[in-house]
């Protein structure tokens, strides 16, 4: 199967020179269509930088990133915007909803930038909200919704435009146990319906629920294993896994 994400020896260096910070130090990984991957690491490990790279929010200092077969490491700001719009659905820890738009308006946003007509857009957005159980909250502004509900709006927004990749950055970081379970169930459901889901987290319990876990420490991949096999050898290389 053709890999959806192919990262080759990516480096990201902040403040090049004496005080340079190697946020990513030679990361290579491949993610296939339909995988549910957890990228786990402590704060400062470089997992957020990796997520920015994978989400085309930032470009690497060096290395190659093939997304859906297209090299995106050297694209312009506007080209990256288009890639994000078409390929990636984001779910953020802080929900990142636009405060003065209601739930429906927020879900419509990526569709607006894709140029979907108003009528179709409203239909798609309403359907996406229905799928996350918010059909009765469409006209509510973010500050009228609970944290769990806000994150469900964010999930609806991420999936509305049908991107191949769902990228969730600590999606349950701000949520209580019940909401966490709800969101994880939705994400797992998306995976089961064939979507590629990548969850960035520092929480082992969340990572447990993924098929595959990639552990980042100090900007390097320290472990990459599938949960079903419970591969404990953390020094096992990526190539071995794929063999």
């Amino acid at each position: 199967m053709e890999p959806l994400i192919q990262v080759e020896n990516i480096h990201k260096i902040y403040n090049p020179g004496e005080n340079e910070v190697r946020a990513l130090d030679g990361v290579s990984l491949t993610i296939h269509r339909g995988e549910l991957v957890a990228i786990i690491g402590h704060s400062g490990s470089g997992k957020s930088t990796l997520m920015n790279m994978l989400g085309c929010l930032d470009t690497p200092t060096s290395g190659r990133y093939l997304l859906n077969g297209q090299d995106v490491s050297g694209l312009s700001d506007n080209q990256l915007s288009e890639i994000r719009n078409k390929q990636i659905g984001f779910i953020f820890q802080g929900f990142n909803l636009v405060a003065n738009l209601d739930a429906l308006g927020n879900v419509e946003l990526p569709l607006i930038y894709r140029g979907v007509s108003k009528q179709r857009r409203k239909k798609i957005a309403a359907l996406a909200l229905k799928k996350v159980g918010l059909e009765k909250r469409m006209r509510h502004k973010p500050n009228e919704l609970s944290g769990g509900q806000q994150q469900r709006v964010a999930v609806a927004r991420a999936v509305a435009a049908q991107p191949p990749i769902i990228l969730a950055d600590e999606p349950t970081g701000n949520l209580d146990t019940k909401s966490t379970r709800e969101i994880m169930d939705i994400l797992k459901g998306l995976h089961q319906s064939g979507r590629t889901v990548i969850i960035i987290t520092h929480d082992d319990d969340i990572a447990e629920q993924a098929d595959r876990v990639i552990r980042i420490i100090d900007g390097r991949i320290e472990a990459d294993y599938h949960n079903e096999h419970k591969i404990e050898n953390e020094n096992m290389s990526r190539e071995d896994l794929q063999a």
Partner: protein, 412 residues
């Protein structure tokens, strides 16, 4: 196009979400536009008043000989004047010519220097004269027979006779030692302001204003016969007819005097008060508009300031939008729409307020000014306020759009 409507909707949503701030931003533009519209309208009203005053005189034109070679005797005759009057009877109120003589006059009250106006009967209604209040003006018959009659004004009557009840009184007029006794047949009014002015002239040591109007044919009696005039005045009932009447009169004179050359007569270029006051008023209006324009620029900088604050405040929103696929152009368009709408709405409110103030000023006739709403001012104000939105919106919009999405998202 649909994309563009989206940006307008986004901008409107945001303006609605920040009503108070949006209004305060508009305030600068509102004040600027209101003052531009009001001041230009007042200027317009003033100009219209001046023009109206200037135009009042322009129902009279002077037609004169074209060259200096034409002698008195070959020029405009009494028959010419009568012919023109008859030809243009429906539009022309008066056709007249006049000569000035200076002479002396003597009654029992004393002897004075006098100004004699030798003229035709229509001089009764001539420009700059006051109405007849007693008796009659001399007639064509008086002119034809050179009857020794005269018309004087109340002031002259008072000097010469001590009262204004002077119809039928006689006075002796001496021009170059030719003495003629004239009978007063009419008296013109002398308004109060002229009496006041006369007192001032006398106080300044000037001689008394003695004015006597007589049929021009009396020139023979004064030893200086006149057969024609160098010019004639033509006054129409309606100033719209003046130019056409003047052209016809010139044609009539030219055809009646073909022996004098190709086109011996022409219309004198009147001293056009419109030409004199127009540029002054324009300059005043322009100056005031400039001052108001400066206040608009200040308002524009206010818009820029608020938009910059708005960019900083909404950094996170910009980050979200960019992460969801908004391109640089989309963000610029959104912010630009916002500033254009804010300043455009400010402009519209300003125009409405300015129009209201204009109406109020004309209604109350403050300072007697009938302010007129100026369409060009309204158009310029609209264009200017939208221009302010674009010019002062571009910098904040570009700043917003150039934010990197992770930079923007990181800020909480």
């Amino acid at each position: 196009m649909e994309q563009f409507l989206e940006y307008i909707k986004m901008a409107l949503d945001n303006i609605r979400a920040n009503k108070g701030r949006s209004f305060l931003t508009m305030l600068g533009i509102i004040i600027g536009i209101t003052s531009v519209v009001t001041i230009v309208s007042i200027g317009n009203g003033l100009k219209a008043d001046v023009m109206e005053a200037a135009n009042e005189q322009s129902n009279t034109v002077v037609i004169q000989t074209n060259t200096e070679e034409v002698s008195d005797t070959e020029a405009i005759t009494g028959e010419d004047i009568a012919f023109i009057k008859t030809s243009l009877d429906d539009t022309v109120k008066a056709v007249y010519s006049n000569y000035m003589y200076s002479g002396k006059t003597e009654t029992r009250k004393g002897a004075y220097d006098a100004y004699l106006t030798l003229t035709t009967p229509d001089y009764e209604n001539a420009q700059y004269t006051y109405p007849l209040i007693k008796g009659n003006y001399f007639t064509d018959n008086d002119v034809a027979n050179a009857n020794p009659v005269c018309v004087i004004d109340e002031l002259t009557a008072a000097y010469l006779f001590g009262n204004t009840d002077v119809i039928g009184m006689n006075l002796d007029v001496n021009v170059d030692n030719n003495i003629q006794t004239l009978s007063v047949i009419g008296v013109r009014e002398t308004p109060e302001e002229m009496l006041v002015a006369e007192k001032q002239y006398i106080a300044m040591g000037m001689s008394e204003s003695i004015s006597i109007e007589i049929p021009y044919t009396l020139s023979t009696a004064f030893g200086n016969p006149v057969d024609g005039f160098m010019s004639l005045n033509l006054m129409t009932y309606n100033k719209d007819d003046t130019a056409r009447a003047a052209r016809t009169a010139v044609q009539i004179l030219n055809s009646r005097h073909q022996n004098l050359g190709d086109e011996p007569f022409m219309q004198q270029k009147a001293i056009d008060l419109t030409d004199m006051f127009g540029p002054i008023m324009d300059a005043v209006t322009a100056f005031v508009a400039l001052v108001a324009g400066i206040s608009l620029v200040v308002g524009g900088i206010g818009v820029m300031n608020i938009m910059l604050v708005s960019v900083t405040e909404r950094t996170r929103e910009i980050g979200i939008r960019k992460s969801l696929g908004a391109k640089t152009g989309s963000i610029i368009a959104q912010f630009l729409c916002e500033s254009v709408i804010i300043s455009g709405m400010g402009g519209i409110i300003g125009i409405i307020l300015g129009g209201g103030l204009t109406a109020l000023i004309s209604f109350l006739e403050i300072g007697g000014i009938k302010a007129q709403l100026s369409l060009p001012a309204v158009i310029v104000a609209t264009v200017f306020s939208c221009g302010v939105g674009i010019i002062f919106g571009i910098y904040p919009a570009r700043k917003a759009a150039s934010l990197s999405p992770i930079e923007a998202l990181r800020r909480m």
